[in-house]
């Protein structure tokens, strides 16, 4: 069982919960489990089966971009953090 930290903007899907449990051997499986319990959340995190460009996911403080993306393994008692990028600009 991993602990998933949900950002403010996605807490509408978790009934306001900041942290929810999820099981799964990989990040992809954890997100599928999130979707099972919190319908609609997956689409806000993924696009065409890839993590959206402006969503950051960390497993035990490591950005999954550098650890294998959605295939990154999630051990029991891991912490998964989802954070929207803080980004923008005139362009």
């Amino acid at each position: 069982m991993a602990e998933v930290r949900i950002p403010t903007i996605l807490r509408t899907y978790t009934g306001g919960e900041r942290v929810v449990p999820a099981t799964g051997a990989t990040v992809a499986e954890v997100i599928d489990e999130l979707e099972t319990n919190h319908t609609g959340i997956k689409e806000r995190i993924l696009e065409n089966d890839e993590v959206r460009r402006f969503v950051n996911i960390y497993v035990n403080d490591e950005d999954i971009r550098f650890t294998g993306g959605l295939a990154t393994s999630v051990a029991d008692a891991s912490t998964v953090v989802i954070l929207p990028a803080v980004a923008g600009g005139a362009a």
């Binding site: 803080v86 923008g88 005139a90």
Partner: protein, 165 residues
Amino acid sequence: MLTIDQETRDAIIAHARQDHPDEACGIVAGPIRSDLPARFIPMLNAAMSPTFYEFDSGDLLRLYREMDDNDEEPVVVYHSHTATEAYPSRTDIDLAGEPGAHYVLVSTRDGADVEGAVMDFRSYRIVDGVVTEEEVRVVDGYADGTTPSTAPSSTAPEATKKAES
């Protein structure tokens, strides 16, 4: 309405001048639900661009963890536009991820990057793609006695960068 103390407002303007012609960005954190921007945290613009800003993903994680530990939230998310007006762009609107925050924009265009020049300082709510401009009230300090801190936090990347340079 955004209520912000003079010192923090001036610190945002100074950061925008310092990073011009690139966009400057950062957060002012405050106690959860206080709506008071109390702790100024300038961030490194990882995009280092005159038309785009983005917090480095590692910096972002450390920032949010620190706010969590302090029972804080991002009260203000600020950035500068360097050649256009201080109004949210389509990109700003699409990427706005903090519905509870005041989005502050300043503009360093038309010579406002020069010390002493007047700089636009505007604030908006951006929720579900809808932009609402709000009044900005500048105060000397906060009535509840909270002391705003513009001293660089030890973990703010921008502070680290300065210390190294």
